[in-house]
Symmetry: C2
Subunit: 123 residues, 2 copies
DNA sequence: GGACTGTCTTGACATCCGTCAAAGCAGAGA
DNA sequence: TCTCTGCTTTGACGGATGTCAAGACAGTCC
């Protein structure tokens, strides 16, 4: 049985178009899983999920770190650590020294596309 | 006495309707984040992401453990461990002693709804 | 009933993760 | 330039996670 390496060995997560068919439509190849799993993992922490939401829902998809930090009972370094995790997962982008963080909706779109399930066929 | 901890006793993720507005539309409250983050976390491992895809894309959304195990270079107990993680996250359901696992598309729908982003406004 | 097959559970271990305290570093203002 | 403010990085620690080996358990077939 051939390994059947899909033509998307390296996934360009910066692209604006969904990269992959829904998870329930076609079996996710190992390479795709290896690339997308970290993004899900980054959203797998309640603090980061809230951070992501605060950034993405902010005006222009941008937020100031100074507005994010006081929203949690956590120290500054911890928030910075979580923001770094979101950054390394490609979910947010930072400018300058990180005072402003910007959401990258393209990644969210790809994750959403992967999770898309058709409406229940018969119930 | 089997432990069989009931998954997700807090919020009924079994509902078929999306529970939450998109992450980028409204800031996710802490309670919602605490409930949904584990589901993302469960998908945050490449093996589990592939397992989820194999189950959800199988005929009828059901798969046999005997078909899942040989697809990875991992031992049986490890696959069982990952399936348990998916089960506790409410992403899959198991019958009998777990020979058959069934996907729970409602949860995927909710996660997808949370990640939904409107198409780029101007480019 | 007895043995076999296949899955789950337990125990152990190395690694990763979330958190904080302390130190480093980049802008802003005087 | 100097200082002040605020974010990041580093180091450390407790807890969670991924993995495997060994044992336990439920169906199945004889």
């Amino acid at each position: 049985m051939p390994k059947q390496v899909a033509p998307l060995a390296i996934i360009d997560l910066t692209a604006d178009a969904p990269c992959c068919p829904p998870l329930a439509k076609r079996r996710v190849p190992a390479e795709t899983a290896a690339v997308l799993a970290p993004a899900f993992k980054a959203l797998g922490d309640p603090v980061r999920l809230q951070l992501m939401s605060m950034i993405a829902s902010a005006e222009g998809g941008e937020a100031c770190v100074c507005d994010l930090t006081p929203a949690f009972d956590l120290t500054g370094p911890t928030i910075s650590h979580h923001l770094k995790a979101l950054r390394e997962a490609g979910l947010v982008d930072a400018e300058r020294r990180g005072t402003w963080v910007r959401a990258r909706p393209a990644i969210l779109r790809q994750l959403a596309a992967l999770l898309t399930v058709e409406p229940t066929p018969a119930g």
